[in-house]
């Protein structure tokens, strides 16, 4: 796992966490909605932030696969490598 990408993603996710979830609760296996309790409506904003930060474009069918931190990182690393 690319730790730079992981740290960057954690920084992006941080602002979307509800009050009772801390940034320290984030692990690679965390489910964005079910475990980190991110409002599902905000997922589109997380994607926009990821696109801006990594300078990549994420397609709609890929968004559906971004359910955990790890799966998001996988999509990011594939895109960044291209």
């Amino acid at each position: 796992m690319n730790t730079d990408n992981y740290d960057a993603l954690k920084t992006i996710i941080k602002i979307y966490l509800p009050e009772d979830v801390s940034v320290d609760d984030i692990t690679p296996n965390s489910h964005l909605i079910n475990e980190l309790n991110i409002n599902s409506a905000n997922l589109v904003d997380v994607v926009l932030d990821v696109e801006d930060h990594f300078d990549i474009t994420i397609e709609d069918d890929e968004i559906e696969k971004m359910d955990t931190v790890a799966s998001a990182l996988e999509i990011i690393s594939q895109k960044v490598a291209k």
């Binding site: 602002i15 979307y16 409506a41 905000n42 589109v44 904003d45 926009l48």
Partner: protein, 425 residues
């Protein structure tokens, strides 16, 4: 079931001349203007380059919004409405419910005209560029008219009716009557009511194009809003929000809440855009009918009204409004109540006007005062023909005020008149 009595237990305001009740109270007592030169309007070739816009101190918004909400908050109406609404709730001594609790006895009717125009402008550009995905999740919630009641409802945890009314410049006053009706009929114990209006060129531009704004005081902004003055030639646009917590007397007494005043009732109607009425001008018969209906609803004797907080925008319609009050109340000369217009200090805050002005009216009852009219030292002769000059104070005077009337009139020929009474337990 007998009708519930309704009282006001909380006030909040985000006005061009004062953010927060204490700053606003000082401002209206001293006649402090909130109207300033707006460089942006000058850059855009507006005829009227002055406006009223609340000045939000640095760091204040963190009290009302989460960091995520603040990150792309571009709806000024939501900003102003949240400050006024949350302040009113806190002022009433009411708490915000915890994450698992819904307060089904408390509701919100918070009006606006257009919400989030700045946000909508950006969304339009992105959409036209084919980048609709870039709109993110906050475009809808900041541009839907009910965005303000939705933001407030989520913050407070209200579970009764949560909605937004819209009736142009009558909006703020109408929301009070709508909330009052809900409590009177036993459908709610508490209603947060009020109105907000966005600021900025996209809100004010249409009025500039209609040539209803004052273009003569760009170099003297504080003298620009001149209700009832002989040379009044247009209104000064404003923005902001006002909020009141209405509560059944029973609930207020149970909680041992501070009671500012009693809402006696009111009336709402439309002139049908017939007779002297049109899309943009009120039908005087309907205005008088609305005032008389409010008297009838409240069984208030017209001679018992101590002061009127008028609509009085300074477009040249002020003498007509005064004539309507005089005929509806059957009072004139020395027998006319005191009358004033907050717009002389704030400009016309549009959908927020009625609510900010009602907050001022309730403060008049609380402090036993009639705030002074600014820029009103040469009253229009058609007004002095009806009302004795000493009934239109240009400095704040202190009197025992028991009953106050507030009315607002809006585009679409819609009217609302409310009557409030000092609370005597």
């Amino acid at each position: 079931m007998s009708k519930q009595r309704v009282v006001i237990t909380g006030l909040g305001v985000c006005a061009p001349n004062g953010v927060g009740i204490s700053a606003f109270t000082e401002a209206i007592k001293k006649g402090i203007s909130g109207i300033r030169f707006q460089q942006e309007l000058a850059n855009l070739n507006f005829g009227c380059q002055i406006a009223g816009q609340p000045e939000i101190p640095d760091g204040l918004l963190e009290k009302y919004f989460t960091p995520l909400q603040l990150r792309d908050l571009e709806a000024t109406g939501i900003t102003y409405g949240m400050i006024a609404g949350v302040d009113a709730w806190n002022d009433a001594g009411l708490s915000v419910t915890d994450k698992e609790t819904v307060d089904y006895d408390s509701g919100i009717i918070f009006g606006t005209s257009l919400l989030g125009v700045e946000k909508f402008r950006k969304a339009i550009y992105l959409t036209d560029e084919g980048k609709v995905k870039r709109l993110g999740s906050t475009t809808v919630i900041q541009t839907m008219a009910s965005g303000i009641s939705a933001y407030l409802g989520g913050y407070l945890g209200c579970g009764n009716q949560v909605t937004t009314n819209s009736s142009a410049c009558t909006t703020g006053t109408e929301s009070i009557l709508m909330g009052y009706d809900r409590i009177v009929n036993g459908y709610a114990k508490r209603m947060l009511v009020g109105g907000c209006n966005d600021a900025g060129p996209y809100i004010w531009g249409g009025f500039d194009a209609m040539r209803v704004l004052n273009k003569k005081h760009n170099d003297q902004p504080e003298q620009g809003s001149r209700p009832m003055q002989s040379d009044a030639s247009g209104f000064v646009p404003g923005s902001g929000a006002g909020a009141l917590v209405l509560e059944s007397l029973e609930s207020a007494l149970e909680r041992n809440a501070t009671i500012y005043a009693e809402v006696l009732g009111g009336a709402v109607n439309s002139g049908g855009q017939r007779q002297s009425g049109s899309m943009t001008a009120p039908n005087s018969n309907a205005v008088q009918c609305c005032i008389k209906d409010a008297l009838q609803d409240t069984t208030v004797n017209p001679n018992d009204i101590d002061t009127i907080n008028g609509h009085l925008t300074a477009t040249g319609m002020c003498p007509t409004e005064i004539k309507n009050w005089s005929e509806a109340l059957g009072r004139s000369g020395d027998n006319f109540p005191y009358i004033n217009s907050l717009k002389s200090m704030t400009g016309h805050c549009l959908a927020a006007a009625g609510s900010i002005e009602t907050v001022a009216t309730i403060l008049e009852l609380q402090y036993g005062m009639v705030f002074g009219n600014s820029n009103c030292n040469d009253i229009h002769p058609d007004i002095t023909a009806i009302v004795a000059e000493n009934k239109i104070p240009n400095k704040t005077i202190f009197r025992d005020i028991q009953i106050a009337a507030k009315a607002s009139f809006g585009f679409g020929d819609v009217n609302c008149c409310m009557l409030f009474k000092k609370f005597n337990s």
